[in-house]
C-alpha cells in the first residue's frame, strides 16, 4: 500500500464490532498514525465516518464538553474536511512547509461494544519538528469506532492532552 496515495487507503475489513480484536483496532490506529505522519490527510479523512467528530479539549479542562465549554478543536466532518483542505494548501502558513511529525500510539485498550460503537482508549505521543525546533504533545486518545460497509471506521476521536498548558507546544496547527 502506498501511503501517499489517498485512493489506496483502506480501513480494516471486519464482520462486526463484536468480532473486533485488539490487533484489528491497532491496525486502524497505526494506519491513522502513518497517514498523518506521511501528510496523506485525504487518506486520513477516509478513516472517518460521515458523522465523525474530532475534539481536543482545552488543557485546563480535559473533561470539557465542546457543546458548552471552550475547547481547542471541535470539528465535525465538514470542518475536518476544511482543516484538511487548509493544511493541503500552501496558505496554512504555520504548516507550510509542513512539520515532520511522528504519532506514537500505545496502551491500546478496546472496551465493550454498545450502541453501535466500540470505545477504545490509547496513550499517544506526537512529536513535531520544524525549522530546527522540536515540540511534543502527550496524552490520551478516546475513540469510538463503528462499522460502515464492512469496514472499521472512526466515528469519534477525542484528544485529552496531559500538557498542563499548550505553551511549550505553541499551537495545535497539526492534526493530533
Amino acid at each position: 500500500m502506498t501511503l501517499s496515495a489517498p485512493g489506496s487507503v483502506q480501513a480494516p475489513l471486519i464482520d462486526g464490532l463484536e468480532a473486533v480484536s485488539r490487533p484489528v483496532v491497532e491496525d486502524l490506529l497505526y494506519l491513522e498514525a502513518e497517514l498523518l505522519d506521511a501528510w496523506n490527510l485525504d487518506g486520513w479523512l477516509q478513516l472517518y465516518t460521515e458523522d465523525a467528530r474530532y475534539v481536543i479539549p482545552a488543557t485546563d479542562t480535559p473533561e470539557g464538553d465542546p457543546d458548552r465549554d471552550l475547547v481547542l478543536v471541535d470539528d465535525d466532518r465538514m470542518r475536518m474536511t476544511s482543516r484538511v483542505e487548509r493544511l493541503n494548501s500552501r496558505r496554512a502558513h504555520r504548516e507550510y512547509p509542513h512539520s515532520n511529525t511522528r504519532h506514537l500510539v500505545t496502551n491500546v485498550r478496546p472496551g465493550t461494544p454498545g450502541a453501535g460503537v466500540l470505545p477504545v482508549t490509547a496513550g499517544f505521543a506526537v512529536f513535531r519538528f520544524r525549522n530546527g525546533r522540536g515540540t511534543y504533545y502527550v496524552g490520551r486518545y478516546d475513540y469510538r469506532l463503528a462499522v460502515v460497509d464492512g469496514r472499521l471506521l472512526i466515528r469519534h476521536k477525542r484528544v485529552e492532552l496531559d500538557l498542563t498548558a499548550l505553551r511549550p507546544a505553541y499551537d495545535v496547527a497539526i492534526i493530533l
Partner: protein, 433 residues
Amino acid sequence: VTLLDDQRTDAGFFPRMVDEDTERHRFRVHRSAMTSPPVYAAELEQVFGHSWLYVGHESEIPHPGDYVRRPVGGRPVFLVRGAKSGEVHVFHNTCTHRGALVCRTDRGNAKTFQCFYHAWTFDTDGRLVGVPDRDGYGDGLDFSSLGLVAPPRVENYRGFIFLSYDPDIADLPTYLAGAKEYLDLVIDGASGSVEIIRGTHEYGMEANWKLLVENSIDGYHAVPVHTTYFQYLAALGTDISAGVTGFGRDLGNGHAVVEGDAPWGRPIASWEPSFGEAASQVIEQIRADLVARHGEQQARRMANTSRNLLIYPNLIINDIMAVTVRTFMPTAADRTEITAWELAPRDELPLLRERRLDNFLTFLGPGGFATPDDIEAMESCQAGFTSGGVEWNDISRGMARLPQVNDEAQMRAFWRRWSEQVEPAPARSGGSR
C-alpha cells in the same frame, strides 16, 4: 541626551525607538524594541509596573470561596471571593511567613489557604487565622499585620477585574479613557451581563509581545494571512465579497480600536447560513431586544460590526465572530505567553452558545484556522529582525488619511504611550518617573 539614554545606548539599544515624523508621513519603530533584553527588563518595571493589568472576570469566581490563580504582569497572584464577605480580592500568591505559594491549584473553592511549608493559614479575606505553635512567638509580634497582601490597587469595571502595582496610578475608569465606551458596547451588546466560558487557551510563541499587540488590532494582514479562513467562510455560504471595512481609532492612554462591518456572522445578532434556520428566529429576537433597548443605530453597531479593542498594555477584547478576552506577557524579549478566554452573554440559550463556540473555534485559538498562522507571522518577524540590515519597522500606513480599519493608526496610539513609558522624552529628560 540624558545620562539614562547614554546608559541605554551602552546596554545595546537605540536611544529613541519610536520615531514619528508627521510632515514626512513616517512613523517607525526601532527593531531593538522587539529584540533587546534591556528593553524587556525596562518594560517589566516601566510598563507592567505602572499600568492597569487585567486579572480576570468576576464570573470566574461566582460563589463564596471560589478562586483562580494566575500570573499577572509576570507575578503569581490569585483572585478569590471571600467566603464570609463575598467580596472579590486579589492577593499576592506568597506566604507572609517565608514566601511559599499559598494557592497551589489553578482553580477551586476554599474556606482557607494553608501554606504547606509551615502551615500558616489564611482565610479567603486574607486574614492570618492559624499559626502552629504560636507560643514560640513573643507578645509584641502583630499577627494581624501578617495577613495576605493585596496589590496596591485593585478595581472592578462591570465585572472585569484589574490590578495595578503602581499605588499612584489614576483610577481605572480614568485610565480606560475612550476604551470604556467600547467595553460597555461589548457588555451591553451581550445583554448587559456576561460570563467567561469554562476552558482556557494557554499557548505561546517565540516572538515579542508587542507584535501580538499589533497583530491583534491589524486589519491589513487579514486578507493575505487568513485566506484559508475566508475560503472556509465562503464554502459555508457566507458572502464575504464586501471584505472588512471600517476605521481605526486612538482611544487615549495607549488604548486603541479598529471597528468595522463584519463579513462573518455574529451570534449577537447577525445570522449567517451556517448557524442554521433554528437560530435565525432567536437571533432576530435578540436583535429586536437590542433595538428596543439601545435604538436602531447602536443596535446595528452591536450586532453587525466587529471591533478589535486594545486596552493598554496587554489586554485584547476582540468582539469579532465571537468575543475573545486575551492577555499576554513576555517571559523574554522573544518569548510570549498568551492566555485567552471566550466571553458570552450570561445564561445564553444552549442553541446559540453552541453556534458561538463553533464560530469562535473556526478562526480563534491555537487550534483554529487563523491563530496558528498569526503566530507563524509574528515568529517570522522576530526571526527576520535577527537578520539585521534593516533597523526600523514602518508603521506609517494611514498617516495621510482618515485612518481605515486596514491602516496602522491604532498601532501608533499604542507605540506613543509605550514610548512615553519606556523611553524618556527629550523634554522630560532628567525628570523622575
